[in-house]
């Protein structure tokens, strides 16, 4: 199962990279399903007015990872999966210094751009294999790799771990 998911993710990554090669100049495809994430601000590949919008399928096609870890907001070991933040930003052609990650309830947190590049941060869209509803902190949850580096397990990164994300604004 795990291998299958990996294969799926790899295929997704391949599709994206070839897509990037062929349709670099073109705008991002329009999301077929409900938009669950919007990248605004300094983005070059857009599919709506000045923004790059993604539905669940688009996000799941991107290169990502699946990780099991403990977080302050969940009970016990929890498995998160979703695309790398850098993959999403690349898909939107985003560049800048920081990200303002905004939640459904207008909670917002500033995340340095390099957290996306240097850390394996993912935009989790599935928890324990299931899509996350708003009630379950969905639809998108920024997850730091607490499993890889325990030194990240502190308030600084807790506050950056925004859930119920609806929009990421890329600031120059």
């Amino acid at each position: 199962m795990k291998t299958f998911i990996h294969a799926l993710l790899l295929t997704g990554a391949f599709a994206i990279s070839t897509g990037a090669l062929t349709s670099n100049a073109l705008a991002l495809d329009k999301p077929a399903g409900d938009t669950i994430l919007t990248i605004t601000g300094h983005v070059t590949k857009t599919n709506s007015s000045k923004a790059a919008t993604f539905d669940m399928a688009m996000l799941e096609k991107l290169d990502g990872r699946k990780a099991t870890m403990e977080t302050p907001w969940t009970t016990g070991k929890t498995e998160f999966s979703g695309p790398y933040l850098r993959a999403v930003l690349a898909a939107a052609g985003a560049s800048g210094k920081k990200l303002i990650v905004k939640a459904l309830n207008d909670y917002a947190s500033e995340v340095p751009f390099e957290d996306a590049e240097k850390l394996d941060t993912i935009l989790a869209v599935r928890m324990n294999g299931d899509e996350m509803s708003v009630r379950e902190k969905g639809p998108v949850f920024l997850i730091y790799p607490f499993d890889k580096d325990h030194s990240l397990y502190n308030e600084k990164y807790f506050s950056r771990s925004v859930w119920q994300i609806k929009e990421i604004e890329v600031v120059e």
Partner: protein, 738 residues
Amino acid sequence: MSARGDKISDVLKRASLRAAVLQAFSVVLLVILILLYMDMSDRQASLQNSIRENAMWAAFQLDREAHELETETRLLLAAPEVEQGQLKALSRRYDIVYSRNDLLSQGHFQGFFVQSGDLSASSIAIGQIVKSLDHVFTGLEKSTDARTRLTAVLPALDALHDETNKLLLTSNTVISDNRAQARDDLIHLQKTSGIYVFLLTLSVGFLIFTLRRQLKAVRQAGQGFEAMANDLASAYNAADAGNRAKSQFMATMGHEIRTPLNAILGTAELLELSDIPDDVRDNIRTIRSSGEALLEVLNEILDYSKIEYGKLEIELRPANLPELAHTVMDIMASRAKERGNALVLDMPDQLLHPWIKTDPTRLRQIILNLVSNATKFTRNGTVTLRLREFSGPNGRQFVRIEVQDTGIGIDEAGRKKLFKPFSQVDASISRRFGGTGLGLTISKEIAERLGAQMGVESEIGKGSTFWLEMRIEATDAPEIASPSERPTGFAPLHSLKVLLVEDNKVNQQLALRFLERLGQKADLATNGAEAVKVATARTYDLILMDMQMPVMDGIEAARAIRAGQGPNRTSPIIAMTANASDEDRDACREAGMNGFEPKPITLKRLHSVLAGVAKRSETAPAPTTLPDNDAFGASEDGIDPARKAELVEVLGEEIFDELVASFFADADALMTEYRDARAAGDRHAADKALHTLKGAAANVGFNAVANIAQAIRQSPEAPDRTDQLTALLASYTFNKAA
């Protein structure tokens, strides 16, 4: 010193006690450090703190979302038209409230909201209200009676908002309490830490203090030891000096006693030869044997004191084992006979190594001692001297010398004491057989010095076997028979009247001893004038004339005797000089002398001179050329070994030593004389001093000294070599004293 030792041990004891306390304190210190670290590293508290902060935030967020939901609902109900999008947004608001409520029972906050009754009640109430609203808000946008449903839940939303507000306030109270508690904990921790740090400081202080004291104690002990070492060193030096003085005293006394004893023995021997009644002869024999016993005891004591004094000298040279054995047999024959013992020599006809390198005098001393002991403790039995060669491990050659007797034997206890100084098997032995009990100690000491092993096997009543094993260092027979193998007996000579004319004391002694040895009685004149005077009063068969003398030299004296009317007008006069030039020879002949003997004179030459005179031969003995001094070897003490061997053989070691000592005394005086003369520009006097020095040096065997003295004489204008000569003499004197 004992008091000091006590003090040091006291200091050390206290120091070690302090060290123990120090160690205990260090352990305590370590424990305190570990405790402190554990206390400090308890980071649980800080994590709790962060959870509290987050919980507060969660409560605040929930309250805010509940408020939003209520406000939105009211706004929606107040509006005339309700759009589907607005309903959907309201439903999402509810979802957010739902997720916020969910969070209270999850993750970090699980524990927090159940810790106090109020909090727990609030969160349970909130949970119930949120769940009860679920059916209203789920699928709200699709429902047809949205407005009715929303109106119905307004009181519940109010209640929710009240509850979340209560939760927020209670949380705040709880958190404040917790914070206060945390602060108290912190203060407590600080206090405990303070105490620990205080203890730590105390410990370190004590540590430093104790270390200081420890160092001081160690230093004190060190000083004590140093002082003790000094005391010991000076005590040792004092003891050693005392011991040396004692040994020196014994050596001197021994020598002082031996000289008259030799005279007594000699006289007794002469008396025995004369025509006397038998009872008197017996008495004299008693005197002689007692004297000989005394001499033996004396020699042993002297040897022992030499061993103690570290002055026992070993001189290795070729020695002939069979001859050595025969000599011992000869010497011991009469004594063995006296006690009815048969003395047997058991030795192979042919030895593989008849010549070995050893100290023959000392080896003979050991064997003589063993045979003498065997004879002493055996009556009417057999004493066997056995000599065998054998191969040891690694193909080394050894010789085993055994002295076996059929005497009283020695038991095991006795054998253990045997080689210890002044010990005889038991006191009764001393009474019965006499002796110092030093013989075996000395023998063993000498054997060790010769690299030999000594031991004994014995059985009470059956006899004893003393053995000595030594490694053979084979050597060739020396070209000139070594002194010990030199025929000791010359053809007997008629007793002649000899006048010795010699100014130098060393030469006087030497010549007189040689003459004595050859059975001659000599008169002594210390210069030419004296000689002329004596020669007018008495007739001599031979006049031995030194050449260079104060007052009147040899040439002048010879001339005066020949020219005078005294009884020695025609007596043979033989010149003795270290100068062997043709010029000197001519001068001698011209002065009417009959012969010419180069110095140093040897026993053999003296014998042939005397023999020639005895035959009344008119021709003088063939002049001998002065031996090439360079051909002589020189040993460490500067004395030519061959000459030394000869002199020791003839004179005995003590007299030889005495001779050497008086040579050094003379040499000092002569050097002073020479320097004074040289300073005064008296070339003749300087040359004379050198001449005398050269003669005396050659006589005793200091060839190097003789050579330099001669070299200075031959070229007095050459660079001054006096210093070299002085240095050489000084180094020999030093070696002698060392």
